[in-house]
Point group: D2
């Protein structure tokens, strides 16, 4: 018998999205599944800010999925020769990739040599799939191809942790993995005061002393935010994503600064990993949610998942600014948190 974990889900918003090029706007509500009920009103408050501020823009900077295979040469000298040659044979590698899928396309190859061990990191366009399986299948074939082409190479594994899947790293932010999206909005001073109950100056100071400086003393890595992981988890669960990818997703950064009297506030999310097809997407409630988000448009290959990633970034923006605002005021965090939780303690 198949059982289910029933994670409470609410729709939040609408968030006002503004297209970066055309400046046209649209309202989008987003589903959040979480055991932490205060997340809903908090994100809702951020959504209100976007509406009053004239809209938030989410820009997709980069988009591909990665997998790194690991091989071993007899010497570093041989490893170096092979790595250089592989960069000249990208068309061959692309052909191998093409044989494994109708969608996957090789975008680039990054290499690392550690002693005589070789890490080959393949970046693939995987259309509207998050791409875990597509890159693994492609990597499997690329691994075989490499072993055949270069008899000096020895098999180690189809995954060498230079990918990097569901683990902390610097490489995912620097070389890219998943969708790199930045959501930004200028919050007028009066909206800050009336909705967020704080000033732009206080948010900027808190951001610097908590997200930037606090992160540095904590020995964080490419991370400067309050709680990106909360919104990512709730959004991923509600849309059938592999939510373990919030690990790399959490490695994102807020940038907040004064713009005149107003507040420039953005969230940079280098590693959003989402898809509109594949694993987890066959559940009815997932399909419904993706539909409502406008991410199931036909003949729109690659754009459905990009839109989904933009919705993720917008949601993170809303939840992040709301929590930071609350943390600028002594006692507010606890008061709102407890009020919410009491009102949501409904047994299920």
């Amino acid at each position: 018998m198949l059982e289910f974990a029933a994670v409470p889900m609410q729709w939040v918003g609408p968030i006002l999205l503004k297209d970066g090029a055309s400046q046209s706007t649209e309202e989008v509500s987003v589903p959040l599944a979480t055991y932490e009920s205060p997340l809903w009103p908090s994100t809702n408050r951020g959504a209100k800010v976007t509406r009053l501020a004239g809209g938030l823009t989410a820009t997709v900077i980069q988009d591909f999925m990665t997998r790194s295979i690991v091989l071993e040469a007899s010497t570093a000298h041989s490893a170096n020769r092979i790595c250089h040659e592989l960069q000249t044979r990208l068309p061959d590698l692309a052909e191998v990739v093409g044989q494994t899928s109708n969608f996957a396309r090789l975008q680039k190859l990054d290499t690392q040599i550690f002693g005589r061990v070789i890490y080959l990191r393949f970046a693939l366009d995987t259309a509207d799939a998050s791409g875990h399986n597509m890159v693994t299948k492609a990597a499997d074939h690329l691994l075989e191809w490499c072993l055949y082409q270069y008899p000096d190479l020895k098999h180690i594994s189809v995954s060498g942790n230079y990918c990097v899947d569901k683990k902390v790293s610097a490489v995912n932010g620097i070389l890219g993995r998943g969708k790199n999206v930045i959501a930004e909005c200028i919050v007028p001073r009066d909206v800050c005061l009336s909705v967020l109950k704080t000033t732009p100056e206080k948010i900027v100071e808190l951001h610097i002393k908590k997200n930037l400086m606090g992160g540095i003393v904590a020995g964080s890595l490419r991370t400067a935010n309050a709680h990106f992981a909360n919104m990512l988890l709730a959004f991923y669960l509600a849309t059938g994503q592999d939510a373990a990818n919030i690990v790399e997703g959490s490695q994102g950064m807020v940038h907040a600064e004064l713009q005149g009297e107003d507040l420039y506030f953005s969230v940079t999310l280098p590693n959003i990993i989402v898809g509109t097809i594949g694993n987890g997407k066959h559940h009815n409630f997932v399909r419904d949610n993706l539909e409502k988000l406008g991410c199931m448009v036909d003949n729109n290959v690659g754009l459905n998942s990009k839109r989904l990633a933009q919705c993720v970034a917008a949601t993170v923006w809303c939840g992040e600014i709301s929590l930071l605002a609350a943390q600028t005021n002594p006692g507010e965090l606890m008061r709102s948190h407890f009020a919410m939780e009491r009102s949501n303690s409904i047994n299920v």
Copy 2:
């Protein structure tokens, strides 16, 4: 209307747990909620290994929850004087903590000074709660107390990211946060060959070249594993935990080495954050699951959540060894993955 995200859940195991002190054993099955169906048979394979190997031992090394407040002094000189004095006033701080909860008890205070900004990191025993709310409430009062006692201090925030909640850091592993648990088992060579279809030598080599070396080239931080995050997410969802804590949970390490002809294999999880009471635990399916796990024993304060953490670590052990074994063999990963997914693509 309250909606739910229905995440498919299966029971895996039983895992054979062996008590480190008494060497007595018991069988425990664990619930895993995930959209990634291959996780179930994979973890099941690891559970079979524990049964054939005579049992796995999970040791709790440390257990407390943390929150860091952030304050500012007029100078670093003043900040230093205050931080030193606070260490001599721990009984006063403990009293403040005690007024906020019947359970929370101050265990230690760690401090950092960055310029004139002060980060006070409080570690609290929070009994069977994961403790997010308990530490936040205590921190709120400690913050007020500090501001009252030291007029030179200025309020910045109740959370200064030196905590560190749901974000990557080094401090959580070094100073501790949540439950630090190590699960270990010696896998006889023949069990490795028959169940895992590989040799101890191959697992050790893969661990070194993927988890250790691959992690290093990827610029990882206190992380050396293949996919701890997968098991953590599924277990946390099935037991009503705040699953965003898989971010710090993912920062754990495998240690694998030959012991004679056999394989010593362990997983070190410095930051398991789980509770048996509090947020998320009022759902009926959650209470049922905790009950079946033996984590709802009366008059057992503090031990229920420790047992739960041991179950988490044991589960991670099972899923980790199984995937690593699969990755030692060319092609096995894809074959088993696709077979599983096809058989589980039941619409819901």
Copy 3:
């Protein structure tokens, strides 16, 4: 025949030091040995700022030297038992340390367990020695003592890289190693304009977008500065220190913010590793330099090296603010750099 590398050395300053407690001031000039001649005028400019600003205060936050031994138990369960027992036997460990030196005194023990491997990190007061040899000698004896006391332990090594000597880490900043010193000064707006040719606002903005944000995108670790390493190297070479310790020394942070119209500017250096006795200090020019710095006072055990560390931090402050100021202005960096190098290209 003994040869020498002749590294050009100049005295820079005087820097105006202000005592944090008494507020009394004194002028101190510092020797810098470097092949990079622009460092002298740049640091000199910073020194001028301290004189015009009424003095800089350098506060010693913490002071001890560390070494970690590495051992192995038969199981994590046994490792845990031993680590907990060791914390109750600190007097015994202190006695072992005391037998190895007239000066070394055990301050604390931090432990980590990774699988069944144990890292014991001893922190020792080493008086006026930087303490590399003192801690190694003590660690050697502690290692033997542990092996004798706990037959379950196996020898791995006297140094387990949890120390951490001359390598990048998070642990040195979080748990401490060497002298943690913060140098700070409020720079009046007019001094900023007249001497540094820039505004407080520009320095703060550059600090945020370069040191904090730039460091984060670069995947740095507990680092937020422009060039601490330059001043550390030159000072260490001029005073006979083991200059390879600039590696951990480089992991320090600037904090700059507006204070009214003026600029609060500080440098936090958690890992200054210097001594006034021991290796390298028998060279005549080194003794002369230490004498001139006021760090060879008799009957002053422990204070000579603390004063030396304060001079280091003050020097770093001067060089850092000067470079940051230059980098706020387009083209200034190159112009001043080339002018200096031309005028210093004297063959030797």
Copy 4:
């Protein structure tokens, strides 16, 4: 009056270098300037190993110098547009670079967007100069060019810490900076026993439990070695290099494993920053040393500094294997250290 810090210098070796392609060998002695006298005999022992093992091969994997400028756009959307366009205008950027030097040539551009702040990281071939000044001069012009071409951009600074100069980072290892060199050698078992007084098995075990595992618990970043920084510092000082670059230089990795009964041992140094011309090279003793190293060959542009980098890597190999060997044996480290220091305590 110009003074000098006189750092004791000795020649070590000869090291037996083996060409990776032709397999021909040559003997090279190297100068090491250091206050830490035990470094000489230790490195000498490693050099003896290379001679008995038939030679060490040092392979240059990559070679360029980097500088990152930092600019700001009005929005992330605009930043993204500009960054994408710049990648299509590399010939224009290369022309700007070409106008600033006869040697500098643009190799690639890497970009990061953080909010609306842009980091442009330029990688330049700088011939035989280490290239600090060349890249700064080029960056200065590129900055002006960008500001002129894109009126939406605002000047922040010529250096944005995504370079990364003399600071800890992950980006330098992942994208490259300076010369990436791997030195490797197979050490026959009997040489290990007779010269290093230990077994291949012991060195491998120590490497795993100290360099790899110890580094991970310490929260290190792309670092797995015992003391690369010591050899780098001594070599850099003896050859007129900017020795503050040992900070990034220290972020390198040992790879040691059994090869049959023998020991494969390599050092991977992704960030060696050395030159044979430029700052510091006009000192007579420096020119003499470079001459003796065979790095002052006429009409050999680019190859002199590559050879120098190979010598650096070979020296690091020698010092590293010797210390690791000593640390496998209880008590050996202290005995050899103290014996050496006593015999070298000659006043100067």
